[in-house]
C-alpha cells in the first residue's frame, strides 16, 4: 500500500497522486469544523463576509475534540461521521478546499465535486481519539468559541495517519455490503 507524507496546504499535484487505499501521513495546519461550524461558515459566505481561514488548499477535519486536560494541547480528537457535512462540502470544495477528514460514507454529490475540483476525502480511525490526539502538537480556537467542542480550531499535526477513502478519480475504499438480494 503506497504511503505518502504530505504537507498542508495541499496542492493539485498532491491530490493527483493519491488513490483510494493509499496511506497519508499529514503534516502542517488543518482546521476543525463539524455541524454547527459548517452552518456558520456557510452563513458567512452567504453574507459575503471573510472566513476564519483561507479555504485554498485547506484541509478540514470533522472533529469535536474533548477538552484539553492540563499539560496537553487537546483532548481526544477522533473523526465524527462525515455525511452530516455533505450538505456543505460541495460549496467549500468549489472554493478551494482540498481535503476533508472524517469517517463514514459521502454522498454522490460530494464525490462528484471532489472529482471536479481535485479534492480527496480521508478517513481517520473512528473511536481512536486518544491515539489520534498524539499526532496533534498544537491547537487553538480561531472562530466561534461559543460553540464549545464545535468551535473552529487550528490544529498543527505531525504525521497524522489517514487513509484515502475517496480520491479525485471516483475511487472508493469502503467495502460494499454483500446482500443476498
Amino acid at each position: 500500500m503506497p504511503t505518502y507524507t504530505l504537507n498542508t496546504p495541499l496542492t493539485d499535484s498532491d491530490i493527483d497522486k493519491l488513490r483510494s487505499g493509499d496511506v497519508v501521513l499529514l503534516n502542517g495546519i488543518i482546521y476543525t469544523g463539524r455541524d454547527a461550524a459548517h452552518k456558520r461558515i456557510t452563513d458567512l459566505l452567504d453574507a459575503g463576509k471573510p472566513l476564519p481561514f483561507d479555504l485554498k488548499g485547506a484541509s478540514i477535519y470533522y472533529v469535536g475534540p474533548s477538552p484539553a486536560p492540563p499539560g496537553r494541547p487537546i483532548g481526544s480528537a477522533g473523526p465524527t461521521t462525515s455525511y452530516r457535512m455533505d450538505a456543505y462540502a460541495p460549496r467549500l470544495h468549489a472554493l478551494g478546499l482540498k481535503a476533508s477528514i472524517g469517517k463514514g460514507k459521502r454522498s454522490d454529490e460530494v464525490k462528484k465535486t471532489m472529482q471536479e475540483h481535485k479534492a480527496v476525502y480521508f478517513g481517520a480511525t473512528g473511536g481512536a481519539g486518544a491515539l489520534l490526539s498524539k499526532c496533534i502538537t498544537a491547537a487553538k480556537v480561531i472562530a466561534f468559541e461559543e460553540l464549545g467542542p464545535e468551535a473552529v480550531r487550528e490544529l498543527t499535526v505531525k504525521d497524522f495517519p489517514l487513509l484515502v477513502i475517496n480520491d479525485a478519480f471516483g475511487g472508493e475504499l469502503y467495502a460494499k455490503p454483500k446482500l443476498d438480494d
Binding site: T80, G104, G129, A175
Partner: protein
C-alpha cells in the same frame, strides 16, 4: 426504609463517568484481541491494533477513549425501601455533571433546534425501575451520536415474524455501513410498544459481549443474527472483513396482538458502560 445519601450517589456517579470513558471494558478488549488475531483483512487487523493501542493510551493518560463521550444514559434499579433525601434524579445528574467536568469529558448535549450546547452535558437520561428490597443499582452508558444516529425503530406486521426481523436488522447494518464505527454491537428489542422496544434494545447493550442468553432459543437467535450480519463483509471501520459486529443482544417483551415492534440500537465498538451498587 434505608437512607442513601445523595452526596454518596453523586460521588459514585462522577467516578463512574470518568472511569467508563477511559477504561475499555474487559469483555470488549477480549473481542478486540480476538479480532486482531482472526480478522481476515490486513486493514481490519490494523484497525483492531489501533483500537487496542488507543485503549492502553486512554487508560494511561486518562484521555477519553473517544472524544464523543456521549449523552449520559442511566439505568437505575431502585429498591422500594430506599430513600434518597433530595431525590435520586438530582443526585445522579449532579454526579454526571461533575464527572464530565472533572474528567475533561466532552459535553455533547444541545438544544434540538437552536443547537446551543447545554454546556454541562445535561440532561442525564435516567430510566428508573422500582424493584423490591433496599438496594440501589445504577448502570451508566456513554452513548455516542454516530452510532445512535444509525439506530432505528419500526412497527412490523406480525406476519413478518422472525424472517422480517432478520431482514430489517441486516438491512439496517448494511445501510449504516462504515458510519457507526464498526465493528458494532447490536441491541435488539422485539415486542413491547413503540416506546418500549427501543428502551429494552438499548438496555440489552449492558450485557457482557461474551455472555450467553439464559433462554437457549434466544441465544440461538442472537447467534443467527450475528452470523447474518457478519456475512455483510463491512468489517472494521468499513474497510472490509469478517468482524462487522461483535455481538447481538436480544430483549423480548410481549406486545399487542396487532403489532410486532422492533428496535435496533446500534452501538459502536467504543462500548463504554459501568455500574455501581449500594
Amino acid at each position: 426504609m434505608r437512607e442513601i445519601k445523595a452526596a454518596d450517589i453523586s460521588a459514585a456517579v462522577a467516578q463512574m463517568c470518568m472511569s467508563a470513558n477511559t477504561k475499555l471494558p474487559d469483555d470488549v478488549r477480549r473481542k478486540f484481541e480476538e479480532g486482531h488475531k482472526n480478522e481476515t483483512t490486513e486493514a481490519g487487523k490494523e484497525i483492531f491494533r489501533q483500537l487496542l493501542e488507543n485503549a492502553d493510551l486512554a487508560f494511561e493518560t486518562k484521555l477519553p477513549l473517544c472524544q464523543d463521550c456521549g449523552l449520559a444514559i442511566f439505568y437505575v434499579e431502585l429498591g422500594e425501601e430506599v430513600f434518597v433525601p433530595g431525590g435520586i434524579n438530582k443526585a445522579i445528574t449532579e454526579g454526571m455533571v461533575t464527572g464530565y467536568k472533572d474528567g475533561y469529558l466532552r459535553k455533547s448535549s444541545c438544544d434540538p433546534l437552536l443547537r446551543k450546547n447545554t454546556g454541562d452535558n445535561t440532561p442525564a437520561i435516567i430510566h428508573i425501575d422500582f424493584v423490591p428490597g433496599d438496594k440501589l443499582k445504577i448502570s451508566y452508558m456513554a452513548k455516542g451520536g454516530g452510532s445512535e444516529n444509525m439506530s432505528r425503530v419500526t412497527m412490523l406486521a406480525p406476519s413478518q415474524g422472525w424472517e422480517g426481523i432478520k431482514k430489517f436488522v441486516v438491512q439496517r447494518v448494511a445501510e449504516a455501513g462504515p458510519n457507526p464505527c464498526p465493528p458494532v454491537i447490536l441491541g435488539i428489542g422485539i415486542g413491547g410498544t413503540f416506546e418500549y422496544a427501543p428502551k429494552i434494545a438499548k438496555k440489552a447493550l449492558l450485557r457482557k459481549l461474551d455472555d450467553v442468553h439464559p433462554d437457549p432459543k434466544v441465544a440461538e437467535m442472537e447467534a443467527e443474527l450475528l452470523a447474518a450480519v457478519n456475512k455483510l463483509g463491512i468489517g472494521p471501520m468499513g474497510l472490509g472483513g469478517s468482524y462487522t459486529c461483535l455481538a447481538v443482544k436480544i430483549a423480548l417483551a410481549p406486545c399487542h396482538i396487532a403489532s410486532l415492534p422492533l428496535a435496533v440500537n446500534v452501538q459502536c465498538h467504543s462500548a463504554r458502560h459501568e455500574e455501581v451498587e449500594f
